[in-house]
Amino acid sequence: MYNIIKNEWQALIHNKRLIGPLGGISLLLVVIAYFGVQDAKSNQNKKQQAKEEIRQQWESIGDYNPHGAAHYGTYTFKPTTALTALDNGINNTVGTVLQLEGHRQNEIIHSPDSQSLMLSRFGTLKPAVVLQFIIPLLLIFLAFASVSSEKEQGRLKLLLMQGVSSRKLLFSKTISYWIIGVIILLITLGIQLLLFSSDTQGDLLNRLLLLFVFYAVFYWIVCAITVYLSAALKNNTAALTSMLALWVLWVIFLPKIAGAFSEETHPLPSRQAFSAAMQEDRSKGIDGHNPLSEQEEKLKDSVLQVYNVEIVDDLPINFDGLVMQADEDFGAKVWDKHFGALETTILQQKKAYQWSGLINPFASLQSLSMGLAGTDNWHHTHFQQEAETYRRVFIKTLNDHHAFGGSKTGDWGWTANQEFYNSISDFDYETPAINQALAVYKTDMAFMGLWFIGSFFLLLFANPKNTHS
């Protein structure tokens, strides 16, 4: 086996037609990995600056009414993970700015793609684009003639007669090309590690390790199928065109078709229908800015009873703050119901899409890649949920101070001092450890595993002797 691999590598080194693209792609990968890291770092810095600016505004708010401060709110910016430099995932299509304020759960806005003319259809050239689209193609170009040229030149029979088993031949050929993919992969991931060495934590290493495993598995699948077709089909051209057709199907056609299909089978509501349904539910509860609502009357009665007084003016607290918090509590239930339903539908769409991995391992790889890089929808939603959790605590703190901070009902001119506002901590987000996200990717991992085993068996039972030699 070693001799066959060595022989393949020697042939490759002498093949000027392939060594050029191989060198070019490797260089391209190094360059884009470097620029990807620079981009991610500059993004991180910009977000940090913006975050500090917003905090500075909050810390100079001065004497302010707590409910006014709830409307003033704060902003948070979607964080950039270290591996954004590797796989940008959905980052260009989703927003980056989230306003956290009273009375509403906002959506994240201002996506990078919405701020300029269209720049590309396959995203920024991050290493993941090269690793997913170009390296498999390179491996196809390297391997398509691996067995067919032996057949065309009559060397296959000679090899088999010398006692090389067909199994050993096919496995050796596959391994020799797969190693090239693995080396390129190691260099790319190594650069990420090197350039982000200051941020290296256990989780980053785990993510990189898993990325390495799944990309390596995908490259194995590509190499194995190419070598198999090279053995099974009658000539180089047939092997190349078949593999190219498969590549186009996997990489270009199927992901878009599967995406559209998942959206059709699990449709999302229109924004208008979504807002109307939420508004309908919201109207059934307390409205902080509508003093005449039935629900407010009920709340008033219960509070008056607790404090044993007849009218709100006699309350030792500010009833308005309680109303605002009741409004928030009710709103939270409504938002959880509606945003929860949206998330469920999107998760169903993802699951439906993941099933396309049964016929398309590229879909599983793409899904896993953005998941492991922390640039998928799961991480995006996690950030939004954490931000919302913070918002609820933030607004409750303000409402409680409004209610119990010393003012009386109806005293909208009452203000809390800067010290109080400074005591409210800023929102700090940490990307969850990868083990929390892995459950979402069970299907993708299972299909990658199945394809790996399938490709293994394909080589195990293929017999170039029975093909069109």
Partner: protein, 440 residues
């Protein structure tokens, strides 16, 4: 062999070659699917817009009824008084809508990234958080939609590769090149004729794929010039690829070599170059977090509201000189709290308009850089041109945002003039409010 015979031969060759036939069929199916996606989005948007307009009309009718019955507003909101300009203009319920163009069928472009309807009030700006895109799965959006422009710009070259990689390459592989030069006086013209035949075949497909949806949709007549322009761009794009592939075919060393080079070229033009330029522009002109707008809505707003009324008035009066002659401007004692609030609100609107103009100018600077890269990024250049024709590009959205900002300013202007003239709104004046943006 003349061109007609070459065309016949090529068609015969395709019909007899199952690989090529399947590729064409697949291409046609995907094209129809892409057209269907574009058409479905167009219909969906129209249906949403109809619902919004209907709802808006109902709300306006409710308000007309209050005037007829002499009511101040909805029963459950006793603080509302539609005889005041503020509440009357609020209940005029102004919607600014970006009507979709039927050519969206051919190119969804960036349409899915943008909102296309908005209720505009005196507080609105062009970058409000309610002006967001339709709800969608971000992972699906990141993968991209399969529209007809994607099919033509990205998949058509692949189809051409399938149809042409063997031209001249097969003859080279089989050692027929010399025989060919005996039969054909000029090898170049023989290759050119074969590519031209493929080109004619592809053009027929293009004409059908563009004409049929337009005829079925009934917009061929009303949008003929745009459809013709769309066809011209797509036709030139076809020629562009035919030329490049013919060059490879001529200089190629066989089928495999030609296929490798053609696919390599496709990869560079469709994925590598656009991706690299995307990365370059992200580094040189990173997209912002709209901090200018955030700061304007927080710091600047606070500063405006902290100013003395006279200073605010001075700024607003400079923009709207008619206010100097208004009832309240000439009689200080009549200036009520709502009138004061109106003055501050108008000043804020004027300030926001300036900030938003700056934001838009910065975004245009970024776009100018994008445009400068077109000569090395032809696929995206064609894509953006096609999006512009289909009105699904960034510039179309930018114009829509400008309309929103102008509408907000117009509403504010009308409101402050009426507030400072102590105007009591009756049904007739309310109708004027309703029609305030009718020319928008």
């Amino acid at each position: 062999m003349n061109l007609i015979s070459t065309l016949k031969y090529e068609i015969l060759h395709i019909v007899r070659n199952s690989y090529k036939l399947i590729a064409i069929l697949l291409f046609l199916i995907v094209s129809v699917y892409g057209l269907h996606n574009g058409s479905a989005l167009y219909n969906e948007r129209n249906s949403e817009i109809k619902t919004i307009k209907d709802k808006s009309t109902t709300l306006q009718e409710d308000a007309f009824e209050w005037y007829e019955k002499g009511l101040k507003g909805p029963e459950e909101r006793p603080w509302v008084d539609v005889s005041t300009p503020f509440w009357a203009i609020w209940y005029a319920n102004h919607q600014v809508i970006d009507e979709p163009n039927p050519l969206m069928t051919y190119s969804i472009g960036q349409a899915e990234q943008f909102g296309y309807y908005k209720r505009v009030s005196m507080w609105s700006t062009a970058y409000d958080k309610d002006l967001t895109a339709e709800i969608s799965n971000p992972e699906r959006v990141a993968i991209g939609s399969l529209d007809f422009s994607f099919v033509w710009l990205f998949l058509m070259p692949l189809l051409l590769i399938v149809l042409t990689y063997s031209i001249h390459g097969l003859e080279r592989d089989l050692g027929f090149t010399k025989l060919l030069s005996v039969q054909e006086s000029n090898l170049k013209s023989w290759i050119a004729k074969r590519f031209l035949a493929i080109g004619i075949f592809a053009t027929v497909i293009l004409v059908l794929l563009i004409a049929i949806p337009a005829l079925l949709g009934g917009y061929m007549g009303s949008h003929f010039s745009e459809i013709a322009l769309l066809f011209i761009y797509k036709f030139f794009y076809l020629l562009f690829w035919l030329f490049l592939l013919a060059l490879i075919s001529f200089y190629g060393k066989g089928q495999t070599d030609a296929a490798l080079k053609m696919v390599g070229l496709w990869l560079v033009l469709t994925i590598v170059l656009p991706g690299l330029i995307h990365q370059y522009i992200s580094l040189k002109h990173p997209p912002g977090f709209m901090m200018e707008i955030i700061n304007a809505q927080r710091d600047d707003r606070e500063q405006i509201y902290d100013m003395e009324l006279d200073s605010v008035k001075q700024t607003v009066f400079e923009t709207y000189p008619a206010l100097r002659e208004s009832k309240l401007a000439t009689t200080d004692s009549l200036v009520t709290q709502p009138a004061r609030n109106g003055m501050y609100r108008t000043a804020l609107n004027l300030h926001m308009s300036k900030v938003i103009n700056n934001v838009m100018a910065n975004q245009q600077d970024r776009n100018n850089v994008v445009r400068k890269t077109y000569f090395i990024n032809p696929v995206i250049a064609f894509q953006n041109r096609i999006n512009a024709i289909a009105k699904t590009d960034f510039d179309t959205n930018q114009n829509y945002r400008k309309k929103i900002q102008e509408a907000a300013t117009k509403i504010n202007k009308q409101l402050i003039l009426d507030e400072w003239n102590a105007k009591e709104v009756d049904e007739a004046h309310f109708r004027n409010y309703v029609n305030l943006l009718s020319d928008e």
